[in-house]
């Protein structure tokens, strides 16, 4: 039981004497020692910030932008002109979200934000309060009907590929005629715009598009549909699903520009080594190469420093992230407070840094509770030499900050310190015989102690993750048959 209380005591060891409205280092509303509180005009009280009015957390509402910020103290909100309400979760009417439909875009925001976005992007909006979640909101975004807008310009019939609405509002073109679903290159429209071999990338789209001679975009690039090969392809709009190699990434394809960001490709300028049959744009491959392996775009996976399996001091987990052909490294928390976990579905890896749940191991008295992986990361050690009973210890020993908390770490490691006495008995004939605890001091006993010691944290004899030896050596003082003193 002593061990349990000892562990629990450390878990909640935070010095929280005063609530400082502002600290000397410039942070707002922190529980800290009085010396760290800023002087007047800032307030301080010998209590926790949770229970003091001036640091009550609420919702900060930006009436200009229509955005809401949770967990904000009143004074912080007022500094930049926000409106504060005493509801930390922002469950207030001004922060109620709805679906803001703007052109072919949708955003799940407040009504004020929706209006702001409309003014910033110059779009008409439709704010729908009946849509209550982001997924439905985004799914309900519909693109405007597109087609060929044919009009007269400088005594010739020209064309603009645009939406019906834009065609109707084209200034100075009362004769503009909209042909829904048609491309400007359609022969039957009789415009000056015709097919070309040029291609382009379009902002907001993944695919490579053909261009007509007037600079309008046409259908998705497909080398087999060039100019006169397929007149229909230059007449009507073909959807993504009707275009070449749909459902594939088409990365580095010379002939098909049906790129898909989620499948690992996007339209980019072609380089010297990868050229398309026509044009200068290609579906760039977004996969990553890392240490001789290829990873899919969007894949995340775990990488560990040396010694993570043995929980060596300094060892650490990392999450690697592959996006846009670039690998970035996200370290998990130091001191093995997080571990990287990884799963794989259809050869696609997903990883995350997950908290190492060792904190309540010592409080577990039942093996079943100790090894309940949903609740904690612990390991059941049976019949330990220190207590002679079973003990629940961390499965992944947490690391210590040996620089600043060395006294605490010493205290913790001391938990695995024990003394046992070996008794020898001399009979009348003078021969010696060991009696009492036969386990004490044996190699098995020693190894059991070592496991227990190492499980508590950065205790016992260890090398660090770089292989540098600690100052103890387990076997130096160990003797299977210790010398007997008379």
């Amino acid at each position: 039981m002593g061990i349990i209380y000892f562990f629990m005591g450390f878990v909640s060891a935070v010095e929280t004497s005063y609530c400082c409205e502002k600290t000397t280092d410039g942070t707002w509303c922190q529980n800290a020692p009085e010396a760290q509180c800023a002087d007047t005009p800032f307030r301080k009280s010998p209590t926790s910030c949770e229970s003091i009015a001036y640091c009550k957390l609420g919702c900060c509402y930006d009436s200009q932008e229509g955005t809401c910020y949770e967990n904000t103290p009143e004074r912080v909100c007022g500094e930049d002109g926000g409106i504060w309400e005493g509801n930390a979760e922002c469950d207030i009417p001004a922060c109620t979200l709805g679906c803001c439909l703007m052109g072919d875009q949708a955003s799940f925001v407040t009504q004020t934000r929706c209006k702001k976005l409309a003014s910033v992007y110059g779009l008409e909006i439709n704010f729908r309060t009946d849509i209550g979640d982001e997924f439905t909101c985004i799914a309900s975004a519909t693109s405007d009907v597109k087609g060929a807008c044919v009009f007269e310009k400088e005594y010739s019939t020209t064309c603009l590929f645009t939406t019906k609405k834009e065609c109707a509002t084209m200034a100075g073109n009362s004769s503009a005629e909209f042909h829904e679903g048609y491309l400007c290159s359609a022969e039957e429209l009789g415009t000056v715009c015709g097919p070309t071999e040029k291609t382009t990338c379009v902002e907001g789209s993944d695919e490579v598009f053909f261009m007509d001679s007037c600079g309008n975009i046409a259908n998705i690039y497909d080398s087999s549909k060039i100019i006169d090969e397929d007149k229909n392809y230059w007449t009507k709009i073909y959807g993504k699903a009707e275009s070449c190699s749909y459902g594939n990434s088409n990365a580095n394809s010379e002939s098909c520009g049906n790129c898909d960001y989620y499948l690992g490709s996007i339209c980019k300028s072609a380089n010297v080594s990868q050229r398309p049959v026509y044009g200068n744009n290609i579906c760039a491959d977004l996969r990553c190469s890392f240490e001789g392996k290829t990873y899919q775009h969007g894949e995340t996976w775990c990488a560990n420093s040396k010694g993570i399996a043995q929980n060596l001091p300094g060892s650490k987990s990392f999450r690697m992230v592959c996006y846009n052909g670039e690998v970035s490294v996200e370290p998990c928390a130091e001191y093995r407070q997080e571990r990287c976990i990884q799963s794989e579905v259809n050869n696609f890896k997903s990883a995350a840094c997950r908290v190492n749940k060792w904190q309540d191991c010592a409080a577990q008295t039942e093996k079943e509770d100790c090894e309940n992986g949903d609740k904690r990361d612990c390991n059941w050690l049976a019949n330990t030499p220190t207590s002679g009973s079973d003990v629940c210890v961390p499965l992944y020993a947490p690391g210590f900050d040996l620089g600043t908390n060395s006294s605490e770490s010493n205290s913790i490691c001391t938990l695995a310190t024990t003394t046992c006495t070996i008794t020898w008995e001399k009979d009348i004939a003078g021969s010696k015989k060991r009696v009492g605890d036969f386990n004490c001091g044996t190699l098995a006993w020693n190894n059991s102690m070592k496991t227990m010691c190492n499980s508590l944290g950065d205790c016992g004899v260890k090398t660090n993750y770089l292989g540098v030896k600690g100052f103890n050596d387990w076997m130096v003082n160990y003797q299977e048959n210790p010398k007997i003193e008379e």
Binding site: Q30, G298, V321, E334, Q337, P398, G457
Partner: protein
């Protein structure tokens, strides 16, 4: 023969003199560029275009500095990372707790900080503009207002809120004097605000959500030993960056 040689020497000297004159002219143009441009064509230059060339470089530098420091010109509470003072926008000094928002109206704050950073240069540019008009024989009257930075999609506008009246015979009055630079800070600050929402509510955020949605965005999250996190948001095309620090739901070392 000697006469021909003399003529040749004379020609060489002339070429050298011409070359020197051209070089001197080039140096003068480079040095007094705005002023010389000012009077080219005999037309008074629009003050917005003069101010654009005068302040653009400093404005871009100010934007970069503020963006790399979490939206502050001189952060009060920051984390030093690769020689940059990165402001904490959400912070708790305790373990096991989600952070307290430190900079709720981030866009507005960033705009104010950029305004502060270029205010001196803006004054200098107006002063130079006034002198340049006067050198060209204009009578100038400048009414200065408070400069205002606005972050907008893909651009940043600097509105001087000033009125300039110049007179040389006819009088010309310029209002709505603005400078604009191409920058993605609006988008990056919006994403930072969203990340801060996750940090205050859940103590962490998932970086891949943003990279799935925004094709050109790179989000890096770097955890520090004492529980702080640095977020680096980068536009892959423009290379514009916004970085900030948080400390939320930190776990203590050891037991």
């Amino acid at each position: 023969m000697k006469e021909i040689e003399m003529k040749k020497k004379g020609q060489v000297t002339m070429f050298v003199i011409f070359a020197i004159i051209i070089v001197v002219f080039a140096v003068l143009i480079a040095y007094f560029y705005p002023q010389i441009r000012f009077t080219l064509g005999g037309q008074a230059v629009n003050p917005s275009s003069y101010l654009q060339s005068c302040i653009e470089e400093d404005l871009n530098l100010a934007i970069e500095k503020v963006a790399l420091q979490g939206g502050s010109l001189d952060p009060e509470h920051y984390l030093l990372y690769e020689n940059e003072k990165i402001a904490y926008l959400c912070y708790t000094n305790e373990y096991y707790k989600t952070c307290v928002m430190q900079q709720p109206l981030l866009k507005k704050h960033t705009e104010t900080e950029i305004s502060k950073a270029i205010s001196t240069r803006a004054d200098e540019c107006f002063s130079e503009l006034e002198k340049a008009y006067q050198r060209s024989g204009y009578e100038v009257n400048i009414v200065r207002g408070k400069s205002n930075i606005e972050l907008l999609p893909k651009r940043i506008n600097l509105d001087f809120n000033s009125t300039i009246t110049i007179q040389k015979g006819d009088s010309q009055r310029y209002t709505n004097i603005k400078v604009s630079v191409v920058n993605n800070l609006y988008e990056l600050v919006s994403i930072a605000t969203n990340i801060l929402g996750f940090e205050t509510s859940y103590g962490d955020s998932e970086t891949t959500i943003y990279m799935n949605y925004y094709r050109d965005l790179k989000v890096e999250k770097i955890k520090q030993s004492e529980g702080s996190k640095i977020y680096i948001l980068t536009d892959r095309n423009s290379k514009n960056k916004f970085q900030f620090a948080t400390r939320s739901l930190a776990w203590p070392p050891g037991i």
